[in-house]
């Protein structure tokens, strides 16, 4: 316990990075995932196939490999960025495919009459997507997206193995200095993750009840 109090500064700094990493990659992944989901619904063959291909590739690749490719591959291409940016990109590119899948199943639960009614009211495709389909799809997909975000929060731990000194990397560092107290450090950092995930779950629950609509 004393060790946890003594190393509170390091652990807090780690969680600050974890949180920043989560927020940055979540925003990017939500935008990219929505774009992918819309692309996979449009009546343009090549965009649908592109979105489906991207999702198939990402869903069958370990996230560690995505980290590996970006962190060590980008410098080879002359793209020298910070480890934090690499990690954000890796997490966002990976999680976007899962968010796309969640949104797509959200779209699939919309009754076909909705789009037929919108069309018969004379809406064009973009208005229909914006005012009728997307709001319902998002509302349907919120629980699944909440699960995606929790997975994303847990996946940020990997950044610790790729140069970002976030909470999990702090476990590594602090253990080297205090080899006898691994369990205390593990318990402290694990409870930090539990709090983070509970907060995300509570937030998503809040959003879900906000967006609930009567059918």
């Amino acid at each position: 316990m004393q060790l946890l109090i003594a190393s509170l500064a390091e652990i807090a700094a780690g969680f600050r990075l974890t949180l920043l990493l989560f927020l940055a990659s979540a925003c990017l992944a939500l935008v990219a995932g929505t774009a992918l989901a819309i692309a996979s619904l449009l009546p343009v063959g090549i965009l649908r196939r592109l979105a489906a291909g991207y999702v198939a590739v990402m869903c069958n690749t370990p996230v560690v490999l995505v980290f590996f490719l970006i962190t060590f591959g980008f410098p080879q291409l002359g793209l020298r960025l910070s480890f934090f940016v690499y990690a954000t990109l890796a997490l966002a590119l990976y999680e976007a495919s899962y968010i796309c899948e969640s949104l797509r199943s959200g779209f699939n639960t919309i009754a076909p009459g909705q789009s037929q009614a919108a069309r018969s009211l004379g809406m064009d495709a973009i208005t229909m997507l914006r005012t009728v389909l997307l709001p319902q799809a998002v509302a349907n997909a919120i629980p699944a997206i909440g699960n995606n975000l929790i997975s994303l929060a847990k996946a940020t731990a990997l950044a610790g193995s790729f140069g970002v000194v976030e909470a999990t990397a702090q476990l590594h560092r602090l253990t080297i200095d205090n080899p006898g107290e691994v369990f205390t450090l593990f318990a402290g950092i694990a409870s930090g993750y539990v709090v983070l995930n509970l907060a995300i779950a509570a937030l998503m629950h809040c959003v879900e009840s906000r967006m609930a609509f009567t059918r």
């Binding site: 090549i46 869903c59 069958n60 370990p62 490719l69 591959g73 002359g78 699939n108 389909l133 253990t175």
Partner: protein
């Protein structure tokens, strides 16, 4: 081009427009691909000497060893996670009452912690113990068995199996619990009316049905476990990705190696995903447990 469920069949004019859009997007894609290949060529990533190592049989033997190590971890973790999930779900819903809350807490806890954190903790704490077990077992079982089981790497394989079982066992427990909850209550009531105890009813009536219906979800979990074995990279377990990293340090060909690794993982996970989705198609949908 298949019809999208949200759009009417296009009028001739819209059809022409959509075809045009298709061609424009196609051209854009080709342009983008060309730019990508140009960028690779510009930075020298397509040079022959970076790809030539993949023509050597010796390199593929190394990759094969890595793949075997990944498979070893995958099989052990999948089996153990399924067993752990089964136990957690069955005892959590039909075990002694005092055990149910702790088991739920256990599942919720391990679902909320990153598997890498669990892995590092187990590795830091038990690597030595696993190493000793590996040496003892290797002496007892002989060289062939030690090689097949990967006992020489038990120092890292052991923590990987334990950590992934703790994490994915909790996830499997949730899948099986969802399967149990989806079975109509009449099944339990009928079993109790026939004089079965509730644990008998769960074991003989509910679990077989739940497992049958959750086969696709459990296989999807196996795909996630296959991807998670790459976490062994972080503790130096020489599985596929670690092997790739060793190759890329030797030949300075990170991008080439990553692409080959993506292909191998894609085949492995793709085969498992395909099995899961074909099972999902053949598993009857609709109400569980209803006569069909």
């Amino acid at each position: 081009m298949t019809a999208s469920p949200f759009f009417d069949a296009p009028t001739p004019r819209t059809g022409k427009f959509l075809r045009g859009l298709d061609i424009v997007c196609g051209c854009g894609l080709v342009l983008l691909l060309g730019l990508g290949i140009h960028a690779l060529a510009q930075t020298g990533q397509l040079r022959g000497e970076l790809w030539a190592p993949f023509l050597e049989p010796a390199l593929w033997r190394l990759i094969g060893r890595g793949f075997a190590a990944t498979l070893r971890a995958l099989i052990a973790c999948t089996l153990l996670s399924f067993v752990a999930g089964l136990l957690l779900a069955a005892l959590g819903s039909a075990g002694p009452r005092w055990l149910r809350t702790p088991l739920r807490l256990w599942v919720e806890l391990f679902r909320a912690i990153p598997s890498l954190l669990i892995l590092l903790f187990v590795f830091f704490t038990y690597a030595e113990a696993f190493n000793r077990i590996g040496v003892t077992l290797a002496n007892g079982l002989g060289d062939t068995a030690a090689m097949v089981l990967g006992l020489d790497q038990l120092q890292t394989l052991g923590p990987l199996i334990v950590a992934l079982t703790l994490y994915h066992g909790a996830l499997c427990a949730e899948i099986i619990r969802a399967g149990l909850n989806a079975i109509p209550r009449g099944q339990m009531q009928a079993a109790r009316a026939l004089g079965m105890t509730s644990s008998q009813a769960v074991r003989l009536i509910l679990l077989p049905q739940a497992l049958h219906h959750m086969r696709p979800a459990l296989l999807a979990e196996a795909v996630r476990i296959a991807k998670a074995t790459a976490l062994g990279y972080a503790i130096g377990y020489q599985e596929l990705l670690r092997t790739g990293q060793i190759i890329s340090t030797a030949f300075h060909n990170v991008i080439a190696v990553s692409l080959v690794m993506m292909l191998i993982y894609g085949c492995l996970c793709g085969a498992l995903s395909w099995l899961a989705s074909s099972l999902a198609r053949t598993t009857p949908g609709g109400r569980l447990g209803s006569a069909s």
